[in-house]
Amino acid sequence: MQRRRWLKALLLSAMLPRRLFAAAPSFPAVEPRPLAFPRDHGAHPQFRTEWWYLTGWLETAAAEALGFQITFFRSRTTHDPANPSRFAPHQLLFAHAALARPRLGHLLHDQRAARVVRDDPTARFSLADTDLILAGWQLRRTPEGRYDARIDAETFALDLRFSPTQPVLLQGEGGYSRKGARPQQASYYYSQPQLVVSGSVVQGSERLEVGGRAWLDHEWSSQVLDESAAGWDWVGIDLDDGGALMAFRIRARAGGASLWAAARLRTAGGREFSFGPDEVRFEPEAHWLSPRTGTRYPVRCRLTLGRGADALRYEIEPLMEDQELDARRSTGAVYWEGAVTLLGDGKRRGRGYLELVGYHRPMRL
């Protein structure tokens, strides 16, 4: 148990500048620029942090609803860039995968981690397009724009294909997404909503043919969170009418007030609306107390976009309450990441994922 404590510390501090003797590498700042595809589907190894995040709802032939999450996470370390060793840990890759199956009552999850070693085919990323491999796990974008994911976890396996039905959704200002009051607190961020999923899930002795809708986020940055931030609430919803909604807020350590917030809505007709920090509100409605970690998560909440009478009011309902990802024994991270239903006026409007980070302990990113 103790031997794994380091990994947690590693993940938590992976982005902290911590130098004593060696020369620190410099990380590029995030500045507004037009994103260019397919290049920007690929990795941006100069930046400190980057992730590809797939979440979505699946339905089995027996109409059972499942939630899933697949994340590939790239981190550039502060290891001296002058180190010519093939093994120098300049770039690390992590991957998470989770499966939410209400009949189990909790998440199944697994993870992989490795350094990127030159010429080593088992852990690599591509600069040209999304093409990630980590210890047998794979996420790849085909030239036609389809994403293929193959995850062979300890307790389940995912073999899924994701076909886009609409263009990428650039978050923020043309993909420049601010995360705080200071301009450098920003990331490059685009989403790929309304992905049509097909494939199979293996869980236990069952092999389930599935279909569904998914959401992909690709985000990279060098400095995101303010020192005073504890974590964030994020939601990404494929609306039933074909639209898409993303909203997040950064919470302060003290009091849990919002430090920053933003949302973007794409309507069924393709029109896009942005909401600024004072136009996005997350309000907890009901909490769930984790019996494992003792953490309280606002798993039911109200989301309000805009102000006054024109405001859009939604309610967020989890697929199941316990979608806590307790990876203290491996990567150490503890957060809630779950399949949710978006309700408006008591009716279902869409389905997607809610992420509640920093409720266990303040997240440093």
């Binding site: 510390a9 911590r18 060696a22 180190n83 060793s85 840990p89 350094r115």
Partner: protein, 851 residues
Amino acid sequence: MKLGFWLALGELRAHPGRLLVALAAIAIGVALGLAVQLINASAAAEFSQAVRATTGQADFEIRGPRGGFDDRVLERVAADPAVAVASPMVEVDARVLDAADAGPNETRILKLIGIDPFRAAQVTPALLGVPADEGDGLALLADDALFLSPAAQAWLGVSPGQTLRLQSGLEAVTLRIAGGLPGARPRQRIATLDIGAAQWRLARLGLLTRIAVRLKSGSEVTAAKARITASLPAGVFVAAPEDADVRASNLSRAYRVNLDVLALVALFTGAFLVFSTQTLAVARRRGEFALLRTLGWPASRLIAYLVTEGATLGLAGGLLGAISGIAVARFALELLGGDLGGGYFAGIVPELVVDTPVIIGFVLLGTFAAAAGSLAPALEIARTAPAQALKGGAESGRGGTVGRHGPGIALLGIGAVLTQLPPIDGLPIAGYLAIVCWLIGGIGLMPGLAGRVFSLCARWLEPLAARRPLAFLSLQRLAAAPGQAGIALAGVVASFALMVAMAIMVGSFRDSVDRWLGRVLAAPLYVRVPAGGNSAFVPPETLAAIAAQPGLERFEWLRIQQLDLDPRRPPVTLMARTLDKRDPGRRIPLTGAALPPEAVAEGSVPVWVSEAMVDLYGWSPGSRQRLPLAGRAVDVTVAGVWRDFARQHGTVTMALDDYRRLTGDEGITDGALWPRAGITPAELAAAIQRATPATRHLDFAEPGEIRAASLRIFDRSFAVTYLLEGVAIVIGLAGIGASFSAQALARAREFGMLRHLGMTRRELLRLLGFEAGGLTLFGIASGGALGLAIALVLIHVVNPQSFHWNMDLAVPWRLLGAVTALLLAAAVGTALLATRQATGTGPVRAVREDW
């Protein structure tokens, strides 16, 4: 047994000194044997556990040359379908610079292991550092941080937060101590760091030294091994974790067995002392025992009583020996480490493992030895008719054995045959048995031989009888009753033979090493990369700078590294050096003729191997072998055999230009430098260090220093044999003392008659002096001959079979002469003292004998 108790107590009261000597001898034997055993068991246990900590849950390991192998092997191994995790490692022994409380000449070598924490977590979790600052997880991947085991922190007097200056190769590297290694063994001194940092900071770019492999559950281990083996380059191989134990045991096995044999010699000595003590006691208490017999004690009870008396003595000695043995082992482990200074388990500081069955075994061995020593005199007294014994002063029946030469001669013959046998399981068991046969056979033949020789002398000296009556009388006496003198003779012969054998063996060895050092240390100045840098080397730039030094007339380079030819054996040394292929004997001491270059087939590379290569790997002269070099199997021809006293596990020498051509490796580890006329070696060394700062971490040494240091190490490792030589002399003297005391008792009537005939007491003592002198001289002559024969076995059988090196016979005449004179004087003195005590109080009260 109440009576027996009082009898024994009486004996103890009467002769506490003698019993104590016998007790001490048993105790020394038990202590020495037990200490060797315990130390080795402790070292092996610690080594094995340390290996476990670094192999963790690996199913097997990939290993290769000490200097490392191409790190691309990792991908090949990881690609095998059965492999779950392949965890790469780079191990480097680095010298710790400015360690807090190291002595001025103490070099502290720390084992650094570069790991990939992501993979190590799944195979060798014990090697994962735990950052002192919990938020500093990135330290595990840092380029400037290391994690120190608790034992290493204590040893170096440092703690997390501080920095450590290390020297790897020629570079000084400063690393911060980011935390500890709580998973390390309590006494394991290691440090781990990121593998990328290790490759870079410790100059091992592109190299790995080990890969720990864990297979997917349910995989076929044998098949995976075979597949992976087939994919590995030459010189890189799959090794099972248990191979490391076998290898560790093989490392020190011969050394250990030889120490065990020395312990048996001490135990034998103890048994002999018990024998002589009991013989004397039996002689003195002849009357008492005869009385007991007539009072109804059967012979068997008497025998049982005497053997019990000896066994009690042995038990006491054994217990004392066990206590001292444990103490000695504890002390030696602290002071010398687990290899008793033999240098086999560097970096391992074992904790004493007290193994109760072993201790009990040694105590029993001591008890049995003493009981066996009592058996002969007990049987003899039991055989004597009580009536005859009661009369007292009668000649003992020991003369009866004189005539029997058969067993002695047979033993000598068996011994001779045994010397011709090959080693058993790599150990010179037959050689040692031959020595035992010769010793026992020789001693057995002594009384009879002595009788013959002395009668011959007496007959020869008969004309001089009138002029030298005392000398003649003593010879007559010796010739007539050789059995009486048996104990004295056996003591002298045994002790002198053992002493001569050890002195000749050690002397020959030292002489051979000394001459060998003279040959291999031909240059006036040597330079080498510091100790512990098992794969450090001087880079070509630095070499060029040294070569350009104006004060340097000539130089020769060596590249020394270790490689494994067999995973279950200790590594072999590969030495590439500047060498004249036509005349390699100028640089390496060949044991025979070498193959000329034209006799080596086209495409094959000539190598000259040490004797161990021939014995252990069958690399006989003229044979063609495959040598793994730079990942390829190179065809080599054994062009000659040379003697290497420095490396007992095998050395392969090749010409440096061949090595460079085959590997492209331009680095060197050692250099021999010849300064220009008028420049001293010290001046040259200083000039090189001034001109080329990169050389300031190199060790410069002149041959004199190297030689003195080597011989100092030699003498230290043979110190225990000097101690045993002393013990051997004590047995000799004890034998003489006991023998003459017994005789004085037995011959009380004879002395009384001689006194009655007008011989003064002084003359009587002179007579006995002559007897003792004659006997000792004879003993020395026969013991010397026997010792020489044993020495030849040690030199030509035991040493080559144990250590795979041959040496030339060199007899240390002066030492032997001095010891002979000393032994002679001491023997006569002891005999006189014993007799004087036995006869001092007048013929009537001559019953109270002692020496």
